[in-house]
């Protein structure tokens, strides 16, 4: 065995790790809630404050929960992606209007379009705390039994949707 080959051997190991590292995202923080039951909520609806939407009503289907706010810049970035997804009808999206003013939220949806089935109002941000929201936008994939299967921190992009979220949704819908 040639001992002068040792540096090369070590280098190969490091390159291997770097190559794997390229496919990972160090900013992607794992959510302790993935795999756990989605926290329950029962909140007034944005478009009809007299009515209540409860997470229990949504059981039996796979759905997305999207935390957003009219004051949030990233939400505007991801908005076309949501609209597009809503038009495709592949999975229902429920909105969670997070720490927002009702009028501004309504105006925002009117201007930019409404991809949501129903929007719940979380003005004090309590549900956001239950879900461990770092910042808006955040999106959760919740299965038929009400278990969180995936969490996206930050704006959704078409590629994330195509490679991660939609395949997961299809798989969950077949279960």
């Amino acid at each position: 065995m040639n001992r002068f080959l040792i540096p090369f051997g070590l280098f190969i190991v490091v390159v291997g790790f770097l190559a794997v590292g390229l496919t990972l995202n160090p900013r992607e923080l794992p959510s302790p809630l993935v795999g756990k039951a989605a926290p329950q909520f029962s909140l007034p609806q944005l478009h009809d404050p007299g009515k209540v939407i409860s997470s229990n009503d949504l059981k039996g289907q796979v759905w997305l929960l999207n935390f957003w706010a009219s004051w949030c810049g990233g939400c505007k970035d991801e908005h076309p992606v949501l609209i597009h997804l809503a038009e495709s009808g592949e999975v229902p999206i429920y909105g969670m209007d997070y720490k927002d003013q009702r009028n501004e939220a309504l105006g925002w949806l009117k201007d930019w379009g409404n991809p949501y089935q129903i929007v719940a109002v979380d003005a004090p941000g309590r549900v956001g705390i239950d879900y461990g929201v770092y910042g808006v936008p955040e999106t959760y994939v919740i299965d038929k039994q009400g278990v969180i299967r995936y969490k996206q921190i930050g704006p959704l992009r078409e590629d994330i949707l195509k490679t991660k979220i939609l395949p997961l949704v299809k798989e969950l819908q077949q279960q």
Partner: protein, 664 residues
Amino acid sequence: MIPEIGHYALILALCVAVVQGTLPIYGAAVSNASLMAVAKPAARGQFLLVLLAFCCLGYAFAEKDFSVLYVAATSNSQLPLHYRLAAIWGAHEGSLLLWMFILSIWMVAVSFFSTHLPDAMRARILGVMGLVSVGFLLFMLTVSNPFERLIPAALDGRDLNPLLQDPGMVIHPPMLYMGYVGFSVAFSFAIAALLGGTLDAAWARWSRPWTTVAWCFMTVGVAMGSGWAYYELGWGGWWFWDPVENASFMPWLAGTALMHSLAVTDKRGGFKAWSVLLAIMAFSLSLLGTFLVRSGVLTSVHAFATDPKRGLFILVFLAVVIGGSLVLYAWRAPRVGLGGGFAMISREGMLLANNVLLVAALGSVLLGTLYPLFLDALDLGKISVGPPYFDTVFLPLMTPAIFLMGIGPLAQWKQASLPALAIRLRWAFGVSLVTAVAVPWLMGQWTPLISLGLLLAFWILTTIVVDLRERLLQAEGGGGIGGRLAMLPRAYWGMVLAHCGVALFIVGVTMVKGFEVEQDVRMNVGETATLGGYMFHFDGTQQVNGPNYVAARGTFRVTKDGGEVTVMYPEKRRYFVQNQTMTEAAISPGLLRDLYVSLGEPLEGGAWSVRLYHKPFIDWIWGGCLVMASGGVLAVSDRRYRLAWRRKEAAVPATAQIARPTVS
């Protein structure tokens, strides 16, 4: 039009680089003089082309050409001209161009200062540098083109990151890159020697000045980065063990080891394979740093905008360059031979031990930097490695290294006697120990770490005194002390100066860690806070308008024992374009202490949360680095190198040469 010229110049430079990277190396292999002769003009031509591209990008910034994507992304019409020009290296694409530009400067330098080298050696060196530049030019032209157009043009640019709008930023990256890229010269010398199969003392003598110059730039560059973090981030810290800082520190450690190892190869013919490996390592770590900063595999405050394609390109480049060199090393190094033997207690032995310690320190920094990545890749969780780890592993490795630093220069080559060394150094050790214990005690705060730090610093200084005294007593002729001092070669003085720099650095670190005081206070207008014997009177803030920001500027009158010391103006700036707030700390520097005031958040009624620091000796940290670097400069100016470079030119008026005795 101008950006297209720059783009075109880069494409031409790539063509030239391909020629430079192939024909001369082939020519050297088949001993074809005309093919080898291609290297020099190719290197110079490449330099001119890259210079042209660099100027084109500079022009686009100066003229606010927001139809160039990179210009629009990193500058703004309100940004002052000097920062617009510094914005050339303010983000990924342009900093690569700077990297490439500096590489071409080093190539031209080699082409001019290599007349004393054999033709084949020079052809191989420039050829290897040409291959490196092929990689970087390809990288730029494929996935990081700074001349990419933005059609239609932006109305205005997105501005340079406010953190980078700072005089330190104007010079820190060029300095650092001069160091990073400078190691490519030592690397090319090593690869050329492996290719040619001639690894001898002459090779080491040629490599030494290049390595030392690159190391000097690197030292200044790293020190400036640390200074920038100190006054720009507003936390009063000077080193954070951030992955990007580590990325610059690792090549520095490898370069330091390389300089010392080359000294042995030069003087005694030993450590050949080891020197070659260190030369490969120093440049490999520079490349690794590039990868870490630009690929997004690690989180860091400095990270450039990331793109997986770029990461993949650099990784492949890294694998080819480093992997190729290490295979070449494994193939060729066994034939190199080991050089003269030596006893463990000898100057070689101490330098070897020092080298091993430096490389161990380097390995521990590398491990700490990559550890989060390793764990993540193995799916073992997400962690971050912070200062506690680095402080814990670094101190025990550096303590013996610095202890040896004192003894090494006094030990004889080949075989030294330990008892004799102990007798020669007993006074040095005694004086250091007493001072190290007494000084913190007199200053009113004694801890083992403060004493250890001071012991190491005094040890370096006192052993230098012993060494100087012995050398002066031994030196022949020259009458007075002045004459005898002048007889010592500059290379020796360079070493003395650089080692003194290390001592100053250690004093700085020890005193800051041991004696700094800080205070986080809420201050109303007219209130006074006391810290380290200084009184800070807060006179409130007023609004100040900058070219592209608006600032709240606080006024702090500082008094000590009733006498006015200084007035300090820390600022909280809001930059318009990116709507980002920046803390501009006010620092009153001094030889023995810095006062540091930074504004936190505004509170009701004109009050502010304010951070105050009293940092004794902190400027010694950077002062020590500058002294180290000047030691390097002094060493490079030694007569033996100047003689070597002049040898060819001097051949003509040989009769006019005066024979002078050389001391070495």
